[in-house]
Amino acid sequence: MTATATSSPAAEASAPTQLTMAGALNAALRDAMAADDRVIVYGEDVGPLGGVFRVTDGLQAEFGDHRIWDSPLAESGIIGTAVGMAMYGMRPVVEMQFDAFSYPAFEQMVSHVAKMRNRTKGRVTLPMVVRIPCAGAIGGVEHHSDSSESYWASTPGLTVVMPSNPADAYSMLREAIESDDPVVFMEPKSRYWSKAPLALPVTTAPMDRAEVVREGTDVTLIGYGPTVRTALEAADAAAAEGLSIEVVDLRSLSPFDDATVSASVRKTSRAAVIHEAAQFGGYGAEVAARVTERNFHHLAAPVLRIAGFDIPFPSPKLEEYHLPTADRVLAALDTWEWDA
């Protein structure tokens, strides 16, 4: 009953070239499909079109329509059939076109994808990846800029990761596909076109680890996905004013890498978390709560949250007012009693 893997020789490392995050994800899918024929890809428009963000560009031509194909337009159907495929031993990688269009699949995600291993005492595992282009800042019209991460991250049984750069995008997607646990793989849309020089295949830190992407001594800024760049910009600007900011890229939202984050916070004694989603009940609440629980007596100030307002995501012309910026981050840090 279980599908068996064919393996092809490991891809040779290529010379570094400039690659976008979309390109890195495309390469990761291609390499994963070449390495293991249990890896199959489907969703809306992933075939001839190559996905609305071109992440699956060229893959159907290369692997054929029994490895990657367009499904009917129904997200619960996509996730529900992927559960069955994974039960058989395939490794489906399915795409939800935008965060908000994953909501029809919510029941399959929460009641089955998240719970299958548990309810069957580990007898049935679901090696599947749900790719979700996420968040805003691309001028998307209504329903195209949601940040759904806290829905998934707060659901026990799901693993939720979000890369912030092309190298992680490649490495983490390969790792997610190889994982025996289902992974919600969130891709920040506004970073799809960000570039980095890459020699593939690249292996970065394990996907359940946070990474210190800039060292500093005064403040720890915690970001993920699109807000890592915001944090780095804030750190640059602050440096000019003599404030040394350490930036942590969470990479994994569930599990949370307490060790890395707490080590940083204990060093700086001040922390803030940045995300696009509304502040109330957003992922930053968990970050602030657990960082405080674990490091209270090391903290000189409350953990701040710089996040979207508690409103539905705005229309394109108003999103700039909603999204956290480096300026807003720096202004927030100013609210701390720095002499306390």
Binding site: G50, Y103, P104, V141, D310, I311, Y321, R328
Partner: protein, 377 residues
């Protein structure tokens, strides 16, 4: 009124060949192919013709403005005028329309101003017209979700003995969503005055119909809900109008819902950000261009001697005037107030939002946003 339903359920398969009243050459069809529907009168057809011409001009204008970067996105209905307008024109002003992003020209037909229709596509606000005044819901993006709203609203009206009807548009792709099924089923079980118009334009973005369904026609789905289904030539506005009008009348008189499939074609890309060369051949588009719904009706009206040159000129002028008005509003920037972001989330004031609003106001006053230098109110 009791909600108890009688047991009769409709169990007739729609005709496999689409119903048609005018053929592609603009000749009136007779016999079985009409499904017993009669041609609307000339006055009505002239009015439908005018609406299509104006809508086409509007659609072309908006597509052009979108290419110039004046709109964030625009899903064109070029080629679908007969479906959009034939169905919409079958409603009275008291009835409700539940449209999708695709159906801007149906909104135009409802008398909504271009500036108000396009607010959302320009990116000013999610929806820009008065839903209640026009009895037209906000254009829905999450597919098939609005069909349930149509069922609910029309059922509420029925409970109130208010004899209005709700009509909703769905795409071929949207019929695959669970919500389409639930809407069909609730409507049929409750016998609500709802008309479902599936615009089968052959594609869901890039995905062709045969990857969406194996049914012989999308109208066949009606059988599974015990409601009448009609498979209609969606480029024949006479047929679309006649079949929808009958469905609206049946609904209004307590006869329950109807599913109508209009077979048509999306001539333009899905939206401006789409690249249809990746998934369909130019010659398929050409084939469908030769089945243009406006030309078809025009041929008929001309052959009947109903459409005079003077009328044509008058209609073209009206269309051009609308296009000009559309250009004008789209080239003037709207005054947007970012603080309004906080005003319509809840009816009841929330302390947290008051705080956040004040914070944004202070940022704007401090000049944080280039576009708002000193413009804070």
């Amino acid at each position: 009124m009791s909600l108890n339903v009688e047991h009769a359920s409709v169990r007739t398969l729609p005709s496999e060949k689409p119903l048609r009243l005018l053929d592609n050459a603009g000749h009136a069809v007779t016999g079985a192919a009409t499904g017993g529907f009669g041609l609307p009168n000339t006055e009505t057809l002239l009015e439908l013709y005018r609406k299509m011409v104006v809508a086409r001009r509007f659609d072309v204008q908006v597509t052009a403005l979108t290419k110039q970067g004046r709109l964030a996105t625009y899903p064109s209905a070029y080629g679908q005028e007969a479906c959009e307008i034939g169905a919409t024109a079958a409603l009275t002003a008291q009835d409700w329309l539940f449209p999708t992003y695709r159906d801007s020209i149906a909104l135009l037909t409802r008398g909504i101003e271009p500036a108000d229709i396009l607010q959302s596509f320009r990116g000013d606000w999610h929806n820009g017209y008065d839903q209640n005044a026009h009895r037209t819901a906000a254009q829905a993006t999450p597919l098939a979700t609005q069909a349930l709203h149509a069922v609910g609203l029309s059922h509420a009206a029925r409970l109130r003995h208010d004899s209005i009807v709700a009509l909703t548009f769905l795409g071929d792709g949207a019929t695959s969503e669970g919500d389409a099924h639930e809407a069909f089923n609730f409507a049929a079980v409750w016998q609500t005055p709802t008309v479902f118009v599936v615009q089968n334009n052959q594609f869901a973005i890039s995905v062709p119909l045969e990857r969406q369904t194996r049914a012989a026609t999308l109208a066949d789905k009606a059988v599974g809900y015990g409601m009448p289904g009609y498979h209609v030539d969606g480029n024949d506005i006479a047929a679309m109008y006649a079949v929808t009008s009958a469905a609206v009348e049946r609904a209004r008189s307590g006869g329950g819902p109807t599913l109508i499939e209009g077979v048509t074609y999306r001539i333009e890309a899905h939206t401006n950000s789409d690249d249809p060369t990746r998934y369909r051949a130019a010659r398929d588009v050409e084939h469908w261009k030769r089945r243009d719904p406006i030309e078809r009706l025009e041929k008929f009206l001309v052959s009947e001697g109903a459409l005079t040159e003077a009328m044509r000129t008058e209609i073209t002028d009206a269309a051009e005037a609308l296009a000009a008005r559309t250009r004008d509003v789209m080239t003037t920037e709207a005054e947007l107030d970012p603080l309004e972001l906080f005003d319509h989330v809840y009816g009841r004031e929330r302390a947290a939002l008051v705080e956040q609003r004040a914070a944004l106001e202070a940022e704007i006053a401090a000049g944080a946003f280039a576009s708002h230098e000193g413009a804070a109110r």
